[in-house]
Amino acid sequence: MKPNRRPLLLLLLLLARPVYSDLTIEITQGMEGAIPIAVIPFGGTGSGGPAPENVAAIISSDLSRSGRFAPLPDHDLVSRPTDIAQVQYQTWRMLNVDDMVIGKVGEVGAQQYNVQFQLLDVIRSKQLIGYSFPASRADLRRVAHHISDLIYEQLTGEKGAFNTQIAYITTAGSGAAKSYTLLVADSDGYSPQTILRSNQPLMSPAWSADGRQIAYVTFEKKAAEIYLQDVASGTRRKVASFPGINGAPSWAPDGQRLALTLSQDGNPEIYVMDLNSKALKRLTNSPAIDTEPVWAPDGKSIVFTSDRGGSPQLYRIAAGGGQPQRLTFDGKYNAGADYSPDGRKLAMVHGEDGAYRIAVLDLDSSLMRVLTDGTLDESPSFSPNGSMIIYATEAGNRGVLSAVSTDGRFRQRLSLQAGNVREPVWSPYQRR
């Protein structure tokens, strides 16, 4: 890029989105067969000026990011109806649009809005769904994501996962001045909020099944400890600080137990802790590295990484203990698993010929598929609807986040403007 073009680009970037956004999203691999849709800029009602958030732009960006939709570019929007009576379906049919979204954002009080939208079937000239939502200023983005979820579900038959969050770790600086931050942001990277900052490493954030708490590993005392932190209030409690490793926390679906790795007996082993009594039950017993436990969504079994067979591979063990069963045989390095929400797939880091990529194992067919093409891809995490996997990779000598569709057909990059981003974890559907 020529240096003299930079100020213009910067200006465009500033105009394009609010300054508090930390992540930008770049689609790096498109998808054939995306549904053509027109998302018309929402109109305003009442006395207020323009709405403080561009709701239609948020919806359009969500749909585009899913890889399942191809929103019409803004300059192709030949008219801008905000009311169903103004819609001329014939025009949109000629633009090969299957569906369209119209709506209004009305200011109904101080910092209070009413958002209404309608999803229209252009081919059949009729409304598919329509809702209206009250929203405070602070809730407008969430309402927009919720509308995206409703549209996604109506048109694909699958639940959307836009109104969810991601947690991740960033590092900045180097040497003694290095800082580590644990953040929670919307699934599109907006509204990042720091929930913990430290000058010692932070690792392995894990959401509780209800989305209210995050477990993580901190080295703030120059030794590994596991804390559980309430996301909304920031209060936290220490649950593990045994000698050696206190690592890889994973919540049981019931929220009452935590699987974790401890090396208090001189070797990394998988344990299950009852969070009420703090009682520990040891699940593994081998001289190998046993770590990275992850609960099956039905709570009956735990998948973990072990090098007991000579190289790191994934194994499954009953949650109450028993004989582990090896699951991966493809390649010399399969580690860091995440279960798909339906319990039928495992995402993992797959190492082959010096490259570490994200692969998915289908547990029914035992077929393994490599989804990414980086060399340092790690920390895969499924979206709560199972359609996408977010992971950490390297670009331009920095740690960045990427997401790939579970079928491998669509890929996008979410890049932070400064520092390294690592260990993304997608939240469950939130019930708080």
Partner: protein
């Protein structure tokens, strides 16, 4: 902020003074009054107690000045060239049973972060066992694995990775 800065400066001064002293004595040296105790009690140290710990640890020509052991990829085997180093540290630690040491295990950045914690732990545990075989008491040694979280060298080359697969021997108090 200010008080922290002052104590930081004080720490730096102490560290500099300790560095200047040719024989920093443990539990000995100049009397330090502790005026924080109630009842008019004052405590102070007496010269001549404790052992001389400083000299060999701070001597740059001593093998003890080398505090890092490097490892091959996905391996926790101590290389033949490091046996002498292990023996020197083990000898020092068994002669100074009051000296505590932390073994910090590290891995290169490739692969899964928590598996790398496991690798770093195994390397540090390997050094711990080697120390114990040479007479160091288990309670003198603590182990912490940082996995790939605290790289000694940045970059994605084998040269950087080699510097990052390591165990650092950290003498507590030095």
């Amino acid at each position: 902020m200010k008080p922290q800065m002052n104590s930081f400066i004080a720490l730096v001064l102490i560290a500099m003074l300790a560095g200047c002293s040719t024989a920093a004595k443990k539990g000995g040296g100049a009397a330090v009054e502790d005026r924080s105790m109630g009842g008019g009690v004052e405590t102070s140290g007496a010269a001549g107690t404790g052992s001389y710990a400083g000299a060999s640890l701070t001597d740059p020509s001593s093998p003890l000045s080398r505090r890092v052991i490097y490892f091959e990829y996905d391996s926790d085997s101590i290389l033949a060239e490091d046996q002498e180093l292990i023996t020197a540290h083990a000898g020092y630690l068994s002669a100074h049973p009051e000296q505590m040491v932390t073994l910090e295990g590290h891995a290169d950045e490739r692969g899964s972060p928590e598996y790398n914690i496991g690798l770093g732990d195994r390397r540090a545990q390997g050094v711990k066992r080697a120390f114990e075989l040479q007479g160091v008491a288990a309670q003198q040694i603590s182990v912490v694995s940082y996995g790939e979280e605290k790289a000694a060298a940045d970059g994605h080359s084998e040269a950087a990775y080699r510097l990052n697969r390591r165990v650092e021997i950290v003498y507590v108090g030095y």
